[in-house]
């Protein structure tokens, strides 16, 4: 659906995007991650023909961008950074206007398509109020509706849940999963790791304009070969699992052992009461922070070293994490994790 080859964009002396070879496949829910200023927005704009590449090639839906953008774009719904609308017009008037402005927006079906899109994003009941009176969340929903009006095959969304409350975030996630199940490929960029972790099947990570990782999320989150055990009797558990315990923090143990069932059997056999037993997986946060440096909005902070060793301690539970940033902060010794760039927008 989207392929780029050695895509590079320079603004003056600044290389915003360097040699990026993106590969988004049909049916993906692809999450493009990276710190602020890593080149996500520039990349998205290049995919839409708004910014011209310095070198490299782009193909979207089989059409070359920017030369054949007029053929690809009608099949794409896009949210490009913040939503934008004419503030003196109503949300509905804005959607109709944008629909009328370009191709593939048949007048006959316009009213229906606009109403459907508004309903999909939870704005079915909006009145004739002008957009200037909308809340941030309503504007965001309207922006998403604008992307959906022509029932696109491909959604390219930059920070789609920006400004939404937790319920709004879940609504949009459910909507995107539903559309994806109906055959729409979703490409989104975000710096919110929990959001991507909860929604995407495939991720790419940008750092200083380079694509440092691109893989299925499931294969990135293979079990680490360790099991997290919580017990009321940690002393006896340590004694029972002699030599396998790598780390102990009160009643919580990190145990080396590929087979959780076997570990559990040993503990139960020794009469140790097990409260919980979870196969450890790497969190998306670790994966990303290992690979990326400091965001461009930070200065005077020593950049963490990308490509560091795999950290084993954080007790990220199996499966996808709930989209709660607090959940992704592991309760481990501070020196054991790479220093995360503090991003005010994630908290």
């Amino acid at each position: 659906m989207i392929t780029t080859r050695n895509l590079t964009k320079r603004f003056g002396n600044v290389e915003a995007v360097r040699e990026v070879s993106l590969d988004v496949r049909e049916g993906d829910r692809y999450g493009l991650l990276g710190p602020n200023g890593s080149g996500k927005s520039t990349l998205v704009r290049m995919l839409l023909g708004l910014v011209y590449a310095t070198s490299g090639e782009i193909s979207v839906l089989g059409h070359r961008i920017p030369n054949q953008a007029s053929r690809a774009l009608p099949e794409i719904g896009a949210l490009i950074e913040e939503p934008a609308a004419y503030p003196h017009l109503s949300g509905r008037a804005n959607l109709r206007l944008l629909d009328a402005a370009g191709p593939h927006g048949a007048r006959r079906t316009r009213r229906r398509r606009v109403d459907d899109a508004l309903e999909q994003v939870g704005l079915a009941g909006i009145d004739r109020r002008p957009v200037r009176a909308y809340s941030l969340g309503m504007r965001q929903r309207l922006g998403l509706a604008a992307a959906l009006v022509r029932r696109p095959q491909l959604l390219i969304l930059d920070e789609p849940t920006n400004g939404l409350d937790p319920r709004g975030i879940r609504d949009i996630r459910d909507l995107l999963v539903g559309l994806n199940a109906a055959g729409v490929t979703v490409f989104l960029s975000s710096h919110l790791l929990p959001e991507v972790s909860a929604l995407c099947t495939r991720i790419g990570v940008l750092d200083s304009g380079r694509l440092v990782l691109q893989d299925q999320l499931a294969s990135l989150q293979q079990p680490t070969g360790r099991v997290l055990i919580s017990t009321d009797d940690p002393e006896r558990a340590v004694a029972t699992l002699d030599g396998l315990v790598e780390h102990r923090d009160g009643a919580d143990l990190v145990v080396r052992g590929p087979d959780p069932a076997e570990l559990n059997a040993r503990l139960v056999g020794a009469g140790v009461p097990v409260r919980s037993l979870v196969v450890q997986r790497r969190s998306l946060e670790e994966i990303v922070l290992d690979l990326t440096g400091t965001g461009s909005d930070q200065f005077g902070v020593p950049a963490s070293e990308p490509g560091g060793t795999v950290k084993a301690e954080p007790p990220q539970s199996a499966g996808f994490a709930p989209p709660d940033p607090a959940d992704a902060v592991p309760p481990v010794p501070a020196d054991a994790v790479p220093q995360a760039p503090e991003d005010p927008e994630t908290s």
Binding site: L50, V51, A78, I80, P83, A84, A85, A101, G102
Partner: protein, 299 residues
């Protein structure tokens, strides 16, 4: 896309407010003149104003002369300056282009929208000032001025009831600037000619403002840039030392529309005015297109 741009123009309160204010200036002037009967003497103040007490039907020409130097170019520069820059700063430009609307197409639609605005404004000024002239100044007042110059309150202005009234008294026809009478049909033709000329003159300003608008995200900046160009041009037009460049200045032939009201019409400057505006429109729109079509949209 053109329909969309026109819809946006029509749905903006500012459009109608601007047109309303521009039409209000001649109305205010007419009220003052009608109340005081103090028309400026010929050769002073703006063109035709000295004659409007004699004949209210000439007031459209006087009104156009009133709004031409400042009001009209400011309004056109603001609307044209906003064309691309306004969309860019509002963020709607990227959505339009990703919709997709071709960049050339968008530029053409904007030009048509600005042209429409100019034309509507000029027509509105003409129509409202004709009504003002006939209703407030009155078509038959000229005779009164001519026959009883001393009987009017405050008719101390030396120009009131001056030379041009001779033709009026004779045939109740409207007088041209040259003193010869014009029939109503001739007057209508000439007013239409003047309207066309003024609209085209404004397109030069519009082209400059649209050109600047493709470079900046500040609508105000683009508008002021275009106005600064006009002010510079006005300064040079009156400067003898700059006579070499004067024939090429955008405002050099702005007042040539007055020649439509001479008998016979004095075509030379009118033709040059049309030509120079055409050159400005073509050159600046080509430059605007060259810039806009190749620019990275980062807003």
């Amino acid at each position: 896309m053109i329909a969309v741009e026109l819809f946006k123009l029509v749905r903006r309160v500012r459009t109608w407010l601007t047109i309303g204010l521009i039409c209000a200036l001649p109305l205010v002037v007419a009220i003052f003149i009608a109340v005081t009967h103090l028309a400026p003497p010929p050769g002073q103040a703006s063109a035709f104003l000295s004659a409007v007490l004699d004949d209210g039907q000439l007031y459209p020409a006087a009104a156009l002369a009133l709004v031409l130097p400042v009001f009209l170019p400011v309004a056109v520069a603001v609307v044209a300056g906003e064309s691309i820059a306004g969309e860019a700063s509002a963020g709607t430009l990227r959505y339009l282009l990703a919709r997709p609307v071709g960049r050339t197409r968008l530029l053409v639609a904007k030009l048509i929208s600005v042209t429409t605005f100019t034309l509507v404004t000029v027509v509105a000024v003409t129509v409202t000032s004709y009504a003002t002239g006939v209703l407030i100044l009155g078509p038959s007042r000229a005779a009164a001025v001519g026959t009883a110059p001393g009987g009017l309150p405050g008719s101390i202005a030396p120009g009131a009831g001056g030379a041009p009234t001779a033709g009026l008294q004779a045939g109740a026809a409207i007088t041209s600037l040259s003193g010869a009478p014009l029939t109503t049909l001739e007057l209508v033709e000439r007013v239409l000619g003047a309207m066309a000329f003024i609209t085209v003159s404004m397109l030069g300003v519009a082209a400059i403002a649209i050109f600047l608008s493709t470079f900046t995200d500040s609508a105000l900046g683009a508008a002021l840039g275009a106005l600064a160009t006009l002010v510079a041009s006005e300064v040079l037009v009156t400067l003898n030392a700059a006579s070499v460049v004067q024939p090429y200045l955008p405002t050099r032939y702005w007042l040539a529309w007055i020649d439509f009201f001479r008998q016979p019409i004095f075509w030379r400057d009118i033709q040059r005015g049309f030509a120079i505006q055409a050159v400005y429109v073509v050159v600046f729109l080509a430059a605007a297109w060259a810039n806009f079509a190749t620019r990275d949209i980062t807003t």
